[in-house]
Structures are given as structure tokens and as C-alpha cells.
Symmetry: C2
Subunit: 229 residues, 2 copies
């Protein structure tokens, strides 16, 4: 099979390390940081699904707003006192995430191969813009695509179609990379070739469709190009 | 405002007590029963959303199959050895749930008021049939509606529309009752009057739309009829 002509990356957890969020949560709420980070993330994703599925997306809110709502819910549920200052400190972590160390190397290798590169993320354009600039990735990405353009979150097909529309390629010629199993699954269902970056040795979703490949870091993206060109 | 002319109930967690599932999980996996029950339930709901949102429902599987898939995932994730016998034992709990004790009384009161009653559930028809018969509620329910008819899980509007279609009433004249906050939210967005049965003093979803009312048991359904007729 020919090598992919474009590679699209999920952002949060895939290109950008969200672990620092848990560290700040632990500083603010000692002993509860991990529980808060997990519930916050779960709720953030749950809210993207609720607003996408209900009434055909009529209740859409940008990712930043859903992230804030999820934080407020998580603190109420865990009975943690979320002052405005603490909320601002935690939310700011989402603006200034560090990139995983192998990112630049992998993106540079893809550019050297002439492969189109991009992000396809639930994040809203402002969040993504700051994250890409902070990580110094601007010159290595041809596309920074936010689902905000279609007001539907992944795994809605309108969200994944942003990638085929932007690249002008059929999904089968595009590799979609995500460290979120549900995202790798949704992209596989959409028709993309997929790499699930399983950084923490988790089981894949049990819905019967595997990703094209599974890897442990972004370096495994390059395995799709080993025998090609 | 006039009293509702029909009351539709969510099934799992609302009419039927899923707590026994956690008890069996704890017997099978001592010290891990609660964690398994929570993850299993979360994953079950997550899977309903993934198959509903992706590719316009093309990956639909009935609730029983998703419940089984979620159990398998949860055991893998928690590193619990799920033998076929254990799987069967846990799945059987979903077939034979007990009803909350106030159910019959509330349904009888509604029938005495001439109110149309029903279930509107993610469960597939077979699961619901067994549960309703086991709980002895068959004679008190005018409708037992499964989202299987439209192959879209709640909170998809096609799922909620089963209730207006079956009753022939506008959503504003129907009370939808759920102990799941996300379900009460989705039903409110759809246009139903809603009661969130908050049995465990949880915070409501932080997405800006409250249910019509909040209660602590199904008895609170009757509060919608206090000043009417």
C-alpha cells in the first residue's frame, strides 16, 4: 500500500502533553490532583458529545467554554473549592501546554518526505493558535483545523471531513494520528488510515474495529513511510 | 401551567436499580467491585455516544452488545480476569434488576390521574421486556419505547422523538423523568418538561440548562400534578 500523502494529528494528549494540568491540580488540591484531572478530562469529552448529539448541534459551545464547564462540574462533584484564581490557573494550563519531545523531529521528517501535515482538533482556533506557536510548530504544519468551523466535535463525520476537505485527498490517503482511543476509532470508521499512539499501555476500545496500527510514540508515524517512495 | 398529559421514564438507574450490579462485581472481584461498576457504566454510555455520533449511526449496535463490550473493556483496563462464566453472571444482572420501591405507587397514582405512562430507554426491546415483567410493571405502562427503533441513542433527537411520536403529544405536554443528569439535560434541550431524580446528591451538568425540576425519588413526579386538574 502506498504511503499516506498527508498526516493529521489530534492535538490534546497527542501533540501536546496535558500532564502538566494534573500537576497544577495537585498543587492546588493536594491529594486530589489526579482525580480532578481525570474527571475534568472525562467531563470535557462528555460535554463535546452532548452538545454534538443533542438537537443536531444546536447547543454547540467552543472547546474553551466546555473545558471551563467541565472544570466547574468536576470541582463541584469532588467538593473542591474552585476560586476564580484557581480556575484561571487551571484553565491557563490548557493554553500553554508543552509539546511531546519527539514532535519536532517527526514533523521535520514528514516535511522532508514532502508529506502534508496538519492538526485536526476539538480545540477552538484561538487555543490551537497559542498552543502551536508556544510549541514552535507553526512552520511545520500546513493545516491547523478546528472543529469549530463545523460546530460538531469528533467523532461526528463533519469534524473528520475537515481533513479531507483541507487536503483535497481521499481519507484512505490520509493518516490520522491520535493518542485517544475513541478518536482513533472514530477516524478509522470515517475511513482514515490511523495510528493510535498508546502512550500508557491501555486497552483499545472494545467495539470491534482496530486502528490501522498501534504505536507508543509519535515516532511510529514514520513506520507508515518505511517501505514507501 | 397545566399538568403533563404523559410521563416517560428512563429505565436504568431511574426505574430499575443498577446497584445490584456493583454487588455482584464486588463478589467476583473483591475490592474492585465499585471501580468496575463505575467504569463499566461510564463506558457503556460512552459507547452509545460513539456509535450514535460516528458516521450518522452506521456503527449502531444494540444496548446489550454495547453493555457487553463495555464490560470487556472495563475488565481489561482494570486488569481483572473476566472468564465467560463471570461475564455471564455480570451480564445477567442487567436482565434482572430490581425496581425502586416507590415505582409501583407512583405509576398507580399516575394511572389514577388518567396520565399516559411509558418508558423511553436506551435498552433494547428484549432487555426492557424482561425488566418490565420482572418488576411487575407491565400493567402500569402504556408504552415501552426503545431507541433501537431508530438506532440512535439518547441524547439524539430521534431517540427523544419516540416519546412525542408514541403519545401524539407535543414535548411541552410530556414530563420526562431520569436519574441521569445528562439524560435530563438532553430531554430538556429536546423540549420535554423534565424531572431529574437526583438520588445521590450530585451536582447537575454545568452546561447552563437546568431541568424543569429536581427531586430525590420518583415520588417527586407527583409534584407536577399537585395543583392541576
Amino acid at each position: 500500500m502506498a504511503a499516506p500523502r498527508a498526516v493529521l494529528f489530534d492535538a490534546y494528549g497527542t501533540l501536546f502533553d496535558v500532564y502538566s494540568v494534573a500537576l497544577v491540580a495537585e498543587q492546588l488540591f493536594p491529594g486530589q490532583g489526579q482525580a480532578l484531572a481525570v474527571l475534568w478530562r472525562d467531563k470535557q469529552i462528555e460535554y463535546t458529545r452532548l452538545v454534538t448529539t443533542s438537537n443536531d448541534g444546536a447547543h454547540y459551545q467552543p472547546f474553551w467554554a466546555l473545558t471551563e464547564a467541565a472544570l466547574r462540574f468536576a470541582c463541584r462533584k469532588l467538593d473542591l473549592p474552585l476560586t476564580p484564581a484557581r480556575e484561571q490557573q487551571l484553565m491557563n494550563q490548557y493554553r500553554h501546554l508543552s509539546a511531546f519531545p519527539e514532535n519536532r523531529r517527526v514533523l521535520q521528517a514528514l516535511k522532508a518526505l514532502g508529506v502534508v501535515t496538519g492538526i485536526l482538533s476539538n480545540g477552538d482556533p484561538q487555543m490551537l493558535g497559542v498552543a502551536v506557536r508556544s510549541a514552535g510548530l507553526s512552520d511545520l504544519l500546513d493545516h491547523v483545523l478546528s472543529v469549530d468551523a463545523v460546530r460538531r466535535y469528533k467523532t461526528h463525520p463533519a469534524a473528520y471531513a475537515l481533513g479531507t476537505d483541507a487536503t483535497g485527498l481521499p481519507a484512505s490517503q490520509v493518516l490520522f494520528v491520535s493518542s485517544n482511543a475513541w478518536d482513533a476509532l472514530g477516524a478509522t470508521w470515517f475511513g482514515y488510515r490511523t495510528l493510535w499512539v498508546n502512550r500508557w499501555q491501555q486497552p483499545f476500545e472494545a467495539l470491534g474495529t482496530p486502528p490501522t496500527r498501534e504505536g507508543s510514540s509519535l515516532d511510529d508515524v514514520l513506520s507508515f513511510f518505511d517501505t514507501a517512495s
